[in-house]
């Protein structure tokens, strides 16, 4: 809160106008439309729409395909988050130890952030290509047949790896910053008291890292739920047999490809609910910035 402000009633509105107009036209209005459409049903030719109340919602929760998409999203989101964070934490701990070569390793680990998730999907597609890809080739040598085009489990492993890969650098940078802010005096005191590196990590470093961990947990969950659309669309298209059809991808498929507007709108509204909850958690428990 500023003590010294300018006395002008019109100018601030003018300054805010571009942002507010764009938000109203491209965010609030479409969101309102989604809510409205979720209570309507269009006939097959798009000529007539009728009000159907919550029918679109009840239909969704009776549809085994939608419920399947929920569990697929849960498995996918949790796996991407865990794989990303464990890998990133491991890298950050290692870099934190090596003071001399810290810069080199950091540079070598942060660049995947620059690669678009869609491009990451294409790159991993090439690696996992069942006929010529390097990984299926290596796995064949040890007797494992890896084919994500037909096998649902393999497809899930494939999209989780591709999605986690593009997110490692982000978590790594935050973990590294978190580790470097752990006071050395605490670790030294513990070392004098006879605690070894492993014990020090679990009793001092990890607890002090928990705000960072929690922040990354929320941010990565949001990433895995929403921004991985590109990975799925560039690779499996939700298949095989719906095994990688996460919620955001299903909204797109039903609404844009399948032209089932009412159902897609209802799915949008449910997703909005999920984002709102995650955002509130993030700001309520992680950030203090919104508090005026």
């Amino acid at each position: 809160m500023k003590r010294v402000v300018f006395n002008n009633k019109f100018l601030p509105l003018l300054l805010l106008a571009p942002q507010l107009i764009i938000t109203a036209i491209f965010f609030l209005w479409p969101a309102a439309q989604a809510i409205r459409q979720s209570f309507l049903r269009e006939d097959a030719f798009g000529l007539r729409t009728e009000f159907v109340g919550i029918d679109n919602y009840t239909a969704l929760f009776r549809s085994s395909e939608y419920l399947n998409s929920f569990s697929v999203t849960l498995i996918f989101t949790v796996s991407v988050t865990v794989v990303t964070m464990v890998f990133a934490l491991l890298m950050a701990i290692a870099v934190d130890r090596l003071i001399k070569s810290e810069k080199v390793y950091t540079t070598l680990l942060i660049w995947p952030y620059a690669v678009a998730p869609a491009v990451a999907g294409i790159l991993w597609w090439f690696i996992f290509n069942p006929s010529i890809g390097i990984l299926p080739y290596v796995l064949r040598q040890v007797g494992i047949n890896f084919n994500w085009i037909f096998d649902p489990t393999d497809a899930m492993i494939f999209v989780v790896i591709a999605s986690a890969w593009s997110r490692i650098s982000y978590s790594f940078l935050f973990f590294l910053a978190g580790l470097q802010s752990v006071p050395a005096s605490l670790r030294e005191a513990a070392a004098i008291d006879g605690a070894g590196p492993v014990k020090r990590f679990f009793t001092i470093t990890l607890p002090l890292l928990s705000p960072t961990t929690f922040f990354l947990l929320v941010v990565n969950l949001v990433y895995a739920m929403f921004e991985t659309f590109a990975v799925i669309d560039a690779t499996t298209l939700g298949g095989p047999a719906q095994s990688t059809n996460i919620l955001v991808y299903k909204v797109y498929q039903d609404g844009f490809v399948g032209q089932n507007l009412g159902s897609s709108a209802a799915q949008s509204v449910i997703l909005m609910g999920i984002v709102i909850v995650l955002t509130v958690i993030q700001f309520r428990f992680v950030e203090k910035r919104v508090a005026y």
Binding site: K2, R3, F6, N8, K9, P12, L13, P18, Q19, L20, T23, F26, F27, L28, W29, P30, Q33, Q37, M91, R97, L98, S101, Y105, T107, L108, L109, I110, W111, Y113, A114, V115, A118, V119, I122, W125, F126, I132, G133, I134, W165, I168, L173, F174, E188, A191, P197, R200, V219, F226, E227, F229, A234, V251, Y252, F256, M272, V275, I276, T279, E287
Partner: protein, 282 residues
């Protein structure tokens, strides 16, 4: 480091070398593949060392593209991506810095309402309102245009919050001094606030450029004419064709070209990149 344990240091190096190798693997394979001829991918396993077709593949993709698939040359798609990325980065910075200025330095009716409207954009990512947003853009006649690619993406709560934070940390004495010297709000904004936020703007620009360049869903939806394709969205269309007639060398050359600009930005502006990342998201 608390005490010297050589074994742990060696272990750390091993873990990191392995990690860097895993992280680099996909890009290594793409680079190698982009230097081979198409028929090197017909059977067996992908080559692991460079071929001699690099010049051929890259000049063909940049120059003519895969004309049979109706795709424009990659250089043209990269130009579209560049316009989109610059437009999004500059647009976001421009509208959020003025919004933050209004919210911090003025008292006016509906100030809190404006704040919450901006906050709401955080809760409505484009992925959850695909169809209605597409309808709005179509009704406005903005399909297949640069404004259609750019404007719907430039509203940003994170950037506004960042500038708000920066402005709140500016000492009040600055504003007082400016007012005593007779400067109006806009003069104060241009001559004092903007120069003082230069590094924040630069850091945000780096992040937003990468964000804009890497957009996928939005350009996929609203560019139906091939002359408006961006390279990140275009590569997917190319690979759909390649699935039946694999031209992996061309796809991978395009992938390398698509990741090159943001990659150079991250590597050469690492300090600004890290600053921007930590500031905008935390």
């Amino acid at each position: 480091m608390v005490e010297n344990r050589p074994i742990l240091n060696i272990l750390a190096h091993l873990v990191l070398i392995l990690g860097v190798a895993i992280v680099a693997l996909p890009v290594w394979i793409a680079l190698v593949a982009s230097t081979h001829a198409s028929n090197d991918f017909l059977g067996g396993v992908v080559p692991m060392w460079f071929g001699d077709q690099a010049w051929n593949n890259y000049s063909r993709m940049l120059g003519t593209g895969i004309s049979t698939s109706g795709m424009p040359p990659v250089s043209w798609m990269m130009f579209n991506s560049l316009i989109m990325a610059l437009g999004i980065a500059i647009g976001k910075i421009a509208i959020s810095i003025t919004s933050a200025f209004a919210i911090v330095y003025f008292r006016f009716p509906f100030r809190m309402l404006a704040f919450w409207v901006i906050f709401a954009t955080l809760m409505l990512p484009v992925e959850v309102r695909i169809v209605p947003t597409f309808q709005v853009v179509a009704n406005l006649g903005m399909l297949n245009t640069y404004p259609g690619l750019i404007i719907p993406l430039i509203a940003s709560a994170t950037a506004t919050f960042l500038f708000r934070q920066v402005f709140l940390s500016m000492p009040d004495e600055l504003t007082e001094a400016a007012r005593i010297d007779g400067a109006g709000p806009m003069k104060f904004f241009w001559d004092i606030l903007l120069p003082l936020t230069r590094t924040n703007i630069a850091a945000l620009f780096v992040i937003m450029f990468i964000y804009g360049w890497n957009q996928y869903l939005w350009p996929l939806l609203i560019t139906t004419g091939s002359d408006m394709y961006t390279v990140v969205a275009g590569i997917k269309r190319m690979s759909t064709v390649a699935d039946t007639d694999p031209q992996w060398n061309y796809i991978m050359a395009t992938a390398v070209l698509a990741m090159l600009p943001p990659l150079l930005v991250v590597i050469f502006m690492q300090r600004l990149f890290v600053k921007g990342l930590v500031e905008t998201e935390k």
